[in-house]
Symmetry: C2
Subunit: 333 residues, 2 copies
């Protein structure tokens, strides 16, 4: 390993190692976004798909397949499938969350309208469905169908779990699996399946994707409160304003005294938020070590992900995936 | 055939002939609507799925499979699949069209909210995907993946085709295929495929479903203007107010003089509608025979549907399907 490789982020090392495959994925995505009958579709999707997304999920599929020795063409289809599902979810989330910006660009929702976001998302789901059918693998279809149901279930569950202080760690974990981990787990698992890997390796890849996804989402939720050190920045507080009950809030609520409990009830359940409440929330969380508890949990999940890969072949891609698990949590520092 | 059978509507005769299968479909639908993690889901779907929908699409699948001699279990899965896809489309349409009522009940959209409609629709799509994977037929998956893409493409196309007098018969037909015919065609085709019918019979079933769907949608669009006789009633004029360019409007615009062209441009393209404009639109359409031309076209498609079935076995279900094609147009009288 050269000096460059040692200092690069694991994500960039994966992108370099998988460069040819990623080019093929990007070509396939551009090809399948096109619609003969509805030219508006690529207009809506292009700015999302082309916006410099990190292609994290497709890389998981490509890395899993290559790591297991695959040399056929279908890991590219599956990587594109996974990215289409992810993009469709973002489009439907834009309707849902009235989020103003995504990846630093105007959302499809604001550029176009709710109608386009819903229907173009449906189109991408359908296109992803066609791509997976082309692999001819019923097992792959089964995994992705289950992932789709878990994703949708998690999104609906989040609707009811938000604004409810009764949301506990088990419900939070179910939401996180739906929002993030289900697609990560499917992405790595189908890579192993298409490669015909032994059952223990496929199970390990699934465990890796699931744990990586949970760690990733916990970190995302922590960053929404400014990270471990809970510093208010321009990108913090969205979840607080949307009254989402994420892991730091759950930790703080568990340890709340009567006055704090009243505070959480007012800002989360009743939605009566005033100037200074975000700072107050951060102070309460800091007092109970809520951010550090949540970070510890993310570190634990990242460790689960890393350890799972031990049964896989000793291969540079395996070590990049291991480092990726650590790096996901390192975003907090 | 007894007197009762001769006087019953073909739809009711199909429901009677397929009663046991339909019961199985209804049980499967109820079972698969349930969500362990998100109990809100059946709350949202129940009033749509249970609201006395005519189960037209599932009956097409069941009838096609039985007519081709199928005696396995999977026609029930496919019938439920088709109904879930239909219901998901209705939920996403509710977001799209801000339609206030559907099947005489409040829409999910108003009962709940846009979020629930989008995400529960996604859940039903995912559930339908699981059901079709259970059949183990890649060919069925291929047909339904293509249908899903055509449906989504047609819905997006409709967004751009509305409010545009450049929308011609070819574009209209593409929209109609997406809105209605693609799912009808897939519903009948997968019935034949799961039964292992010969290629010519499967092709005929597809042609039947496609033509039936086109006829059905043309009639729906005519009824929105009060039917062949263009009588304004409480349920007429929705498409006019939403500035949708449907077949009667296309016929009228094709024959418009300068003044009429200005009228259509004002009410459809610019959306400036005043009291009396719907009556004026109907008068212009009547002058050019637009309603009758559209009805003739529906009759032609119904004939195509009926004729297609000639290659199928001589079976009571076949005759019910033939009569159903005629009945779809008879709704206009």
């Amino acid at each position: 390993m050269g000096l460059d490789e040692a200092t690069q982020k694991p994500h960039d090392r994966l992108a370099a190692a998988l460069a040819a495959d990623l080019d093929a994925v990007n070509s396939l995505i551009r090809d399948r976004m096109a619609s003969r009958h509805a030219p508006r579709i690529p207009e809506v999707t292009a700015h999302l798909v082309e916006a410099g997304g990190k292609r994290l999920r497709p890389m998981l599929t490509l890395a899993a397949a290559r790591l297991c020795g695959y040399d056929g063409p279908f890991h590219v289809h599956l990587a594109a499938t996974v990215e289409f599902i992810h993009t469709a979810t973002l489009l439907h989330d834009d309707v849902v969350d009235e989020s103003a910006r995504r990846r630093g660009r105007p959302t499809a929702n604001l550029l176009w309208d709710n109608k386009s976001s819903v229907l173009v998302g449906d189109y991408l789901f359908a296109r992803s469905f066609q791509l997976m059918v082309e692999t001819g693998s019923l097992r792959v279809l089964d995994i992705l169908a289950d992932a789709s149901a878990t994703i949708a279930e998690g999104e609906v569950l989040q609707l009811t779990a938000a604004q409810d202080l009764g949301t506990d760690r088990a419900i939070y974990l179910q939401v996180v699996r739906g929002k993030t981990a289900a697609l990560f787990a499917a992405a790595t698992e189908v890579g192993g399946v298409i490669a015909g890997a032994p059952p223990a390796q496929i199970a390990a890849l699934r465990t890796y994707g699931d744990a990586l996804g949970v760690a990733f989402q916990i970190v995302d939720d922590l960053l929404d409160y400014g990270g471990s050190d809970a510093v208010i920045g321009k990108n913090t507080g969205d979840d607080f304003r949307e009254r989402k009950v994420t892991l730091p809030v759950i930790h703080a609520v568990e340890k709340a005294d009567v006055a704090e409990r009243a505070f959480w009830s007012r800002v989360i359940e009743q939605g009566q938020q005033a100037e200074g409440d975000l700072g107050q929330a951060l102070a309460i969380m800091a007092r109970h070590g809520a951010m550090h508890s949540a970070r510890d949990e993310a570190v634990m999940w990242a460790g689960t992900a890393r350890d799972a890969l031990a049964v896989l072949p000793d291969h540079p891609l395996r070590h990049m995936l291991e480092d990726l698990a650590d790096y996901v949590v390192a975003r907090l520092q």
